[in-house]
């Protein structure tokens, strides 16, 4: 009887046990092939992430299949216990071997000591195998340091509550919640796996994400699930608070290896689960007003940030561990935390408006968080690769506009890249460029020539202020027009708005713009701000501005002569243009240093800032640049301009007869693409610090074009993937040394066969729903108005 019952129970737990086994094997695989060196302190969390993902997956499947809560609990338990067992058995096996004198390292080369240390809590120094026993006597050699078999539980009577749970006598648990020690790790696997499944179940029931519309009926039954979702960030925050540690007071709960990472991850977890909580709060009434719930979560997010700052300012320890890096990193860390929190809040705001995109937004936030933290954990070489990928993403996105959106095959794209780089180099290099008779030709802003500085400052101030005023004025004008149209009975009259303000308004605006900008410039000049500004700051942003302008204009200059060319002819002419620019830079020795190039180009931050800060700032600048360009690309695609490009790509003549101005569209595409390449060029120059004409050969154009094609033409995630695949993967494959190019080639061929449209082809925009909603709204408006 009991046996049958047991069989039944176990039978229903089989799906969970199977996925648990798989999860355990994956974790083992990661341990055996060696977790990347630089995230070793986070190895614990990488492994826990796996069991978490499996848990979520389990819950989702069960939910889809309409299983009960009991089923999920049982299977989640099975999943996590089996996963933990698999790892546990293997780890104890390793311990047994080590204790018996076998070095595991001999068999599993990649099992690094650090990883083992992190997972077991045993200090690295003690992870050595015991020496072999003497064959005759069966004894260890005399005086050898011995490990005892750590697989035991002891109770230390001397210190009372101290339970010796770990592998060695030193890894103890002090009211330890389990993180760090070996058994603790196993326990953690179980807890995390179960938690993942339960949270996913709770989120599903609470109608978060993709289930929102399907399960409207579930709502009232599962208030617990809703509360669970809100309570989770609260609990996490409580945990973070307990582990924060204060001056002179030991933290109540000690955390094992990578304590600061735990805090960091907790911080992010709080932000993310906070998002889920707000989202879950929307559709159901818990008797707690929505603003209150949002307030709680927003408070938590602010709390995380405050804690981070307090930690850094207060007792000098880092919220984000940076292995004692200098002070600049602290600000960086605070900045990152705040940024992610802000992004989370903003994304949540948008996610509320478009619930079906919530999950991808959540994934986006998570990816952003990882991306922002990553450089802090990578060494200089890896960061180097990262910046290279970032610059290529920039270039790819720019070329994507020209080739992917507008369909203009540009093989001389490197020219704009070069122009951006050389513009920045020319304006900022510390090297003195001289002409034939020895007169300096460089136009360095950062120098003794105050007139140049002040003229530049004047021009910038007036230009920026005037542009701002004109843009603001025009914006207000259009806004008033739009408001008028909206008040009118038919909303479609908006299309009849005249974009040009009347003559009087234009004149007024011009006068105001000129006088105000001049006034600004004079005031700032008198306050000696200009001098200080250019004494203190690096010329990077001036160079960036100039580089973008120069390359953008040159894009238009290339665009004009090739307006009438199509296809192959266009490709050949642009190819020539690229070569011409390179040859110009090689031969205009006076200004570019000829083949010797321009040296000593400064980094974005001044040189006196300490090394890693200056370097990291470059990494983040590249991220920022690539992010902005991706953002603008995405917006351009879904716009009047983007549709015109797309139409032009499909059929120029028909596009023109639909009202598309071909000249304007083509020049816009060239200019924007070139400007994006210019940003890439400036960042490239700042990264390399020395640039030569040979950096800008045809290969670069081809490489960027290939990454656009391989990633997926016209697709932003595609271009990013393409850059990672084409630039990043060969670097990662360096470990394969001899077979590197072979493997890379094989990858490319496979890719082209399997995914001929690119890694991530551009999705077709889905506008139908939105259009229908708009029509509905309009219809209801008409109904209301008499």
């Amino acid at each position: 009887m009991i046996v049958t019952r047991l069989q039944q129970v176990l039978g229903s737990m089989r799906p969970g046990a199977t996925s648990g086994f798989v999860a355990g094997l994956i974790m083992l695989f990661l341990i055996l092939i060696g977790i990347p060196i630089n995230i070793q302190s986070l190895a614990l969390f990488v492994l826990l992430l796996i069991v978490l993902i499996f848990g979520v997956r389990l819950a989702r499947r069960a939910f889809d299949a309409g299983e009960t809560f009991g089923y999920i609990v049982k299977n989640a338990l099975a999943l996590s216990v089996v996963a933990a067992l698999v790892v546990f058995l293997f780890m104890s096996l390793i311990n047994r071997w080590q204790a018996n004198g076998i070095s595991v390292k001999t068999y599993f080369d990649a099992v690094s000591l650090t990883t083992m240390n992190v997972l077991s809590g045993v200090p690295e120094s003690e992870l050595h195998p015991n020496p072999e026993k003497d064959i005759l006597t069966g004894e260890y050699p005399e005086g050898a340091e011995l490990r005892t078999n750590p697989m035991r539980l002891t109770f230390d009577s001397e210190t009372g509550l101290r339970l010796k749970l770990g592998l060695t006598g030193d890894a103890w648990v002090d009211l330890n919640l389990g993180i760090g020690g070996f058994y603790g790790f196993m326990l953690l696997i179980v807890v995390v796996g179960m938690a993942g499944a339960l949270i996913a179940w709770g989120a599903n029931v609470a109608n978060v994400g993709r289930y929102r519309t399907q399960t409207a009926g579930y709502l009232s039954d599962n208030l617990i699930a809703h509360w669970l979702v809100l309570l989770l960030p609260l609990l996490l925050f409580g945990f973070l608070w307990l582990t924060k540690g204060q001056d002179g007071i030991d933290p109540i709960i000690r955390i094992g290896g990578g304590g600061q990472e735990v805090q960091l991850l907790l911080g992010f977890a709080i932000v993310l689960f906070g998002l889920v909580a707000i989202r879950a709060a929307q559709p159901v009434d818990w008797g707690l007003a929505y603003p209150v719930r949002v307030g709680i979560v927003a408070g938590l997010v602010a709390g995380v940030a405050a804690l981070a700052i307090w930690r850094i300012v207060g007792d000098g320890r880092y919220f984000i561990a940076t292995d004692g890096s200098p002070r600049g990193n602290e600000l960086l860390c605070v900045g990152i935390v705040l940024l992610v929190a802000a992004v989370a809040v903003v994304q949540n705001y948008f996610a509320l408006r478009t619930p079906e995109r919530f999950e991808s937004q959540l994934a986006g936030t998570l990816a952003l968080a990882i991306l922002l933290i990553l450089p802090l954990y990578l060494d200089q070489y890896q960061n180097d690769v990262l910046t290279l990928v970032g610059i290529n993403v920039l270039l790819g996105l720019g070329l994507n506009i020209v080739v992917g959106y507008a369909g203009l095959l540009d093989l001389g794209y490197v020219a704009f890249f070069a122009l951006g780089a050389y513009t920045y180099a020319f304006l900022s290099s510390n090297q003195v460029l001289v002409d034939g008779s020895g007169n300096p030709t460089g136009l360095k802003f950062e120098g003794n020539d105050e007139t140049v500085i002040r003229i530049a400052a004047w021009v910038f101030t007036t230009a920026i202020v005037a542009t701002a005023i004109v843009a603001g004025g025009l914006y207000l004008w259009r806004r008033s027009q739009a408001a008028r149209a909206r008040r009118a009975a038919d909303r479609r009259q908006l299309l009849d708005i005249d974009p040009r303000p009347s003559g009087g308004v234009t004149l007024l605006l011009t006068v105001i713009a000129i006088s105000t900008s001049l006034l600004f410039a004079i005031l700032l000049d008198n306050s000696s701000l200009y001098r200080r500004l250019f004494d203190d700051t690096s010329p990077f942003f001036i160079g960036l501005f100039a580089g973008v302008i120069v390359s953008g204009l040159s894009g238009i200059m290339l665009g004009i002569p090739v307006l009438r060319l199509r296809g192959d002819y266009l490709a050949i002419v642009t190819l020539g243009f690229g070569e011409i620019i390179r040859l110009l830079f090689t031969n205009l020795r006076d200004f570019t240093g000829g083949p010797q190039g321009i040296l000593q180009i400064p980094r974005p931050l001044p040189e006196n800032a300490s090394g890693p800060v200056s370097y990291l700032s470059l990494v983040y600048l590249i991220f920022l640049g690539a992010g902005l360009v991706a953002f603008f690309s995405a917006r351009l695609k879904q716009s009047r301009t983007g549709r015109a490009w797309s139409a032009m790509k499909s059929d120029e003549d028909i596009a023109q007869s639909m009202g598309v101005n071909l000249v304007q569209s083509k020049l816009t595409a060239f200019a924007i693409g070139a400007a994006f390449a210019g940003i890439g060029g400036v960042l490239f120059a700042a990264r390399q610090r020395n640039i030569f004409p040979n950096d800008f050969r045809l290969d670069v154009s081809i490489e960027v074009l290939s990454l656009v094609i391989i990633g997926g033409m016209g697709s932003i995630p595609g271009v990013i993937m393409g850059a990672i695949a084409l630039i990043g993967v060969p670097e990662v494959l360096r470990e394969l040394s001899t077979y590197r190019i072979l493997v890379f080639g094989a990858l490319l061929v496979t890719m082209v066969i399997i995914r001929p449209k690119g890694l991530l082809p551009a999705p077709t925009p889905q506008l139908q729903e939105r259009a229908r909603a708009l029509v509905q709204r309009h219809v209801s408006q008409e109904d209301r108005s008499p």
Binding site: Y475, R478, R479, Q481, A482, R486, R491, R492, L494, L495, I497, P499, F632, R635, L636, Q638, S639, R640, T641, G642, R643, A644, S646, A647, K649, S650, D651, D653, I654, A655, Q656, S657, M658, G659, V660, N661, L662, T668, I672, T764, P765, Q766, L767, Q768, R770, A771, R772, L774, V775, H778
Partner: protein, 272 residues
């Protein structure tokens, strides 16, 4: 043609339009007047210059001589996009949809000339542009609904069946809010039922959307059925014009279509 129709204001007027390709005169001294809210047809044998005439109106070709006036402005020599902005839209003999774009996007390209957003506006997307996009999208959807494609907004245009592609092309042309719609063989390749439906649709276009329509058509049943005015071209010259009944009786038209009577052919042959 009734008296009342003759008093309607002139929308399009071609005066002595001549277009040559090398030595070939594709259009010679063509005069044509189209009045508002009419359905006018241009017919003629293959190579008569019908499509060339369309291309001259829409700005693809610039006529060597003569003038084309639309809505009180001379438009010969203007670029196609400028002509479209003035209020002339067209469809094509062979369907030319934008491949790789969805049905809704295709229609939204049609309203390009009516939208204001600049590339900078597209990047920064201020509220005005947002609203404009919404309006354009809503309009595109309504147009699709009008032509009976309301459910297919998110499919790729090239995946639609043939008849739907034709209707989509018309919806795209309508998106530019034209005053004059040029249809180049709208019933080509359709079966009798589809042709019948298209005819009703063209009438609806005129009546419900207050459009003037100029069409090229080979199917005489269509032409004779819906046209207010028929002009017949042959070798680039207008050989007849009038109501469908008048044109049907015209011996020149019969000759152009069926050839000269047999005895004339023989005498002509012997003379040469």
């Amino acid at each position: 043609m009734t008296e009342q129709a003759n008093e309607r204001p002139i929308l399009l007027e071609a005066r002595k339009v001549t277009k040559r390709f090398g030595g070939l005169i594709a259009l010679g001294d063509l005069d044509l007047v189209i009045r508002q809210n009419q359905i006018a047809s241009v017919i003629g044998p293959n190579g008569a210059g019908k499509t060339t005439f369309f291309n001259c109106i829409t700005g693809f070709y610039t006529p060597e001589e003569g003038e084309i006036w639309f809505d009180g402005h001379p438009i010969q020599g203007e670029r196609p996009d400028q002509v479209t902005a003035r209020g002339i839209a067209r469809t094509y003999q062979n369907i030319h949809l934008f491949a790789g774009m969805t049905v809704l996007e295709n229609v939204m390209v049609g309203s390009h000339a009516n939208l204001l957003a600049s590339p900078v506006g597209a990047m920064l997307r201020p509220p005005v542009n947002r609203l404009e996009e919404d309006v354009a999208l809503e309009k595109a959807y309504r147009l699709l609904d009008f032509v009976g494609l309301g459910e297919d907004g998110d499919t790729l245009a090239t995946n639609l069946p043939y008849g739907s592609q034709r209707r989509l092309e018309i919806a795209r042309a309508l998106a530019s809010d034209p005053k004059l719609l040029l249809l180049d063989e709208p019933t080509a390749g359709m079966n009798p039922q589809e042709t019948e439906a298209t005819m009703r649709f063209i009438r609806r276009l005129r009546d419900e959307r207050d459009l003037t329509i100029l069409l090229i058509e080979h199917d005489m049943s269509v032409v004779m059925n819906i046209s207010d005015q028929v002009s017949v071209l042959d070798y680039g010259r207008k050989i007849a014009e009038g109501t469908p009944e008048e044109v049907q009786q015209n011996p020149l038209v019969i000759e152009a279509y069926l050839g000269a009577p047999a005895e004339e052919l023989v005498t002509g042959f012997l003379d040469s």
